[in-house]
């Protein structure tokens, strides 16, 4: 399945192998995985909240946009919600293309949109109490780079 939203942990390596095995014409596979950082030992737990229903819709739209924009063989997104501890995989994306430039650009695009356009919210718990992670201005700014540039076709 190309979009999964789940509370259970997933095996990033096994998912990547399964994805790669199913994309025969592709010469290039790029993955990104987001891990819960330990923040120097001050972070003990992270909880990801999401908006069931809208989450799946938003991720499917982001994936479809990437598939339309670059020459991809496939793209997948897995995102967890619920409680996690440092070192846990929060999410991953994988893209497969004939050429590496497409696979890289599409993976970055998926991440940029997923950060700012998919309904997830992170709360951190640690030595200094709990706090909702603030969105970063630079994440919003990152979206701007996809507006006017043409998708790469070489690589």
């Amino acid at each position: 399945m190309t979009i999964r939203v789940q509370s259970e942990a997933f095996d990033m390596g096994a998912e990547t192998n399964a994805f790669s095995a199913a994309v025969a014409p592709a010469g290039a596979v790029v993955t990104f995985s987001g891990l819960v950082r330990d923040e120097g030992g001050t972070l003990t737990k992270m909880v990801v909240e999401h908006y069931p229903g809208m989450t799946e819709r938003a991720l499917a739209t982001i994936r479809a946009d990437a598939m339309a924009r670059w020459s991809l063989v496939d793209a997948m997104i897995i995102h967890r919600y619920g409680p996690m501890v440092p070192g846990d995989q929060i999410m991953m994306v994988a893209t497969a293309a004939r050429h590496r430039a497409d696979a890289f650009a599409a993976a970055e695009f998926l991440m940029d949109y997923l950060k700012s356009r998919a309904p997830f919210w992170k709360k951190e718990f640690g030595a200094h109490g709990e706090r909702w992670v603030a969105s970063k201005d630079e994440d919003e700014a990152s979206l701007g780079r996809w507006a006017l540039t043409n998708p790469p076709s070489s690589g």
């Binding site: 991440m111 309904p119 992170k122 603030a134």
Partner: protein, 82 residues
């Protein structure tokens, strides 16, 4: 009748994840003004609208969006996935 949902710190400040609202509001902004009168907690949650995002029937939109035929409105802070 509109189902209003709250997420993250909006949910915490309001103390509820959803409420059924009988409203005549035409736009999201009108609905927000109505919600602010429901309790001090609502007023606080909506005191800084620069930090509030809205989805109407599960699509991200603007505060000016119409509520015509809408069944679900969700309020939340800027998203922090990934």
């Amino acid at each position: 009748m509109i189902n209003v949902l709250y997420f993250a710190w909006l949910r915490e400040r309001i103390g509820s994840s959803s409420e059924q609202i009988e409203t005549q509001a035409n736009t999201v902004a009108d609905l927000v003004e109505e919600l602010k009168t429901r309790s001090p907690a609502h007023a606080l949650a909506f005191s800084d609208m620069a930090s509030v995002r809205v989805a109407v029937d599960q699509d991200l939109t603007e505060m000016t969006a119409s509520l015509q035929g809408v069944r679900e409105v969700a309020f939340f802070p800027p998203m922090t996935g990934g």
